[in-house]
């Protein structure tokens, strides 16, 4: 379904945003956790065909992302891709439902479920950051996609709606590649593969169900599940023992700072 082989993305010469990333998602969900600026969004953008691939390959449903055309099975919450024309929210929903060959009723129901009816007559720029994020999530989830790419879906969203969204994602029948910089709510997503992304490199996978058993320690530790080789030192991820439990921090960034 999604195969990423040795992917590097370069925005500026000499500075790779992604460095030789490998990821395979054939069933279920994959969650990528990493600090801000680690390359999580770039990974999604490369899969969407929006980032300059300098090496490697992204294959979606067996086709190279550079050559894929008119395949409606992938959706995303990256709002940038919904700005085809200057439109109000209700028109964006109608237009993209038509372009996806789907029924807009599902999106409108989700808008209603998230108590967002007031945004339908607004322009995107009139929405708050949280409303924009929720609109992106709704557009991503409501056109019956097989594969859904979600960039920080919980960011700026209030707690009650976060819980509702987590439930939706847990019940979502297709495949999901989701990135976040926070550990909160991950335990509500159900069985998923977990990856860490640091400085453009992807580490993993782990089982999300093991999240509470994962520890991190400075340096190389014998029997570690993986060693994170970063510019500020090496860190080992271990099971059931180590310097700090991963879930004791709200984000990987804070955790690495604490251990370092």
């Amino acid at each position: 379904m999604l195969e990423i082989d040795d992917l590097s993305v370069t925005y500026r010469k000499g500075s790779d945003a992604l460095k030789g990333v490998n990821l395979k998602l054939h069933k279920g969900k994959a969650v990528v956790v990493g600090p801000n600026g680690s390359g999580k969004t770039t990974l999604l953008r490369a899969t969407l065909g929006l980032a300059p691939i300098s090496r490697g390959r992204v294959r979606v449903f067996g086709l190279d992302v550079q050559s894929i055309r008119t395949d409606t099975r992938l959706s995303t919450n990256v709002l940038e891709v919904y700005r085809l024309a200057r439109l109000r929210v209700k028109d964006i929903i109608s237009l993209y439902a038509e372009l996806k060959g789907a029924d807009p009723a599902q999106s409108l129901k989700m808008i209603d479920d998230f108590e967002l009816g007031g945004i339908l007559s607004k322009w995107i720029y009139e929405l708050s950051s949280g409303q924009q994020k929720l609109l992106g999530n709704i557009l991503a989830l409501s056109f019956e996609p097989r594969l859904c790419l979600l960039d920080e879906p919980f960011d700026q969203v209030d707690q009650s709606r976060r819980l509702r969204l987590a439930q939706l994602l847990r019940d979502f029948p297709g495949e999901v590649l989701l990135n976040t910089h926070e550990f909160g709510l991950l335990d509500r997503l159900g069985d998923s593969a977990l990856y860490f992304m640091i400085e453009g490199r992807l580490f993993g996978s782990f089982e999300l169900s093991q999240l509470t058993r994962l520890y991190i320690s400075r340096g190389e530790v014998a029997g570690a599940l993986v060693t994170l080789d970063t510019s500020y030192g090496k860190f080992s991820v271990t099971l059931d023992r180590g310097e700090a439990a991963i879930t004791t921090s709200t984000s990987l960034e804070r955790l690495l700072e604490a251990v370092a």
Partner: protein, 269 residues
């Protein structure tokens, strides 16, 4: 495909298009009627009709070039959306282009009819003759073709810049059609441009065709000088059609290879 209706609505609610494409053109029409010509300078209905058609041709062109600027901005702000939609929705480059073509042609006719009505009312009042356009259906057809040309030109320019040169040049190229309109518009109004240039330039072709179908007279090398050499409107029509087709085909090719640029980059370039 619904893109055409959304895109047309988007353009029709574009305040910049109304400001520069309609209101500012109204200002030019007033200048043409009351400032650039002295009272009593035009004594016959024939002279008044020719003078009115000059202004209609030029103002319609200026108005259409404002449309072109709006189209250019909307394409480059949509580059990530287009790159995504061509991959992950049913939208194809050719479908998108044809939808824009329909929308631009409609807007071309819409703007041109506003200019036509405004010119007729204002200049008839000013000169005291009934300066009715001679062939409104033909004017409508060539307004649609002019709208299609403006889409072809603006999409070609913005796609070349977007795909190969970087967004720093986009602001400039989006105004190129407007600049060309002013240069060729006033150029043909007051000076004697080479005939080959007049036939090969789509800008002068648009002015001359609209002039011809408003006045019923053959366009001349210097529009304000009826005694200068006459031009063949059929060649003008052929030139405009050829330009439109070539630029549309090239734009379709470039659209299929659109390079997604971040909206932030577009804003800050």
């Amino acid at each position: 495909m619904a893109v055409i209706s959304y895109y047309t609505r988007s353009l029709l609610t574009n305040k910049s298009l109304w400001g520069w494409g309609v209101l500012f053109m109204g200002f030019w029409l007033v200048l043409g009627a009351y400032i650039f010509v002295q009272s009593g300078e035009i004594a016959t209905a024939q002279a008044a009709l020719a003078y009115t058609a000059d202004w209609y041709g030029i103002i319609a062109l200026f108005s259409l070039s404002s449309l072109s600027t709006s189209i250019a901005y909307s394409i480059y702000y949509a580059s990530p959306a287009l790159a995504y939609c061509f991959r992950y929705t049913k939208l194809r480059p050719i479908t998108y282009l044809l939808n824009l073509l329909g929308s631009s042609s409609f807007l071309g006719v819409f703007l041109s009819l506003i200019m036509l009505g405004g010119t007729y009312a204002l200049y008839s009042t000013r000169f005291g003759f009934n300066l009715k356009p001679s062939d409104i259906p033909a004017a409508v057809i060539f307004s649609a073709l002019s709208g299609a040309f403006m889409l072809a030109l603006s999409s070609f320019l913005v796609l070349v810049v977007n795909n190969y040169l970087g967004l720093r040049n986009v602001s400039f190229v989006s105004f190129v059609p407007l600049l060309l309109s002013y240069v060729f518009g006033f150029g043909q109004l007051f000076t004697s441009l080479p005939t080959v240039l007049l036939y090969s330039s789509p800008m002068t072709a648009m002015i001359d065709l609209l002039y011809h179908f408003y006045s019923g007279y053959a366009p001349t090398v210097v529009l304000t000088n009826p005694s200068s050499a006459a031009l063949d409107w059929r060649l003008m029509a052929a030139s405009l059609t050829a330009w439109t087709l070539v630029l549309l085909l090239t734009s379709g090719f470039l659209l299929g290879r659109i390079r997604p640029r971040s909206i932030e980059e577009a804003r800050q370039a």
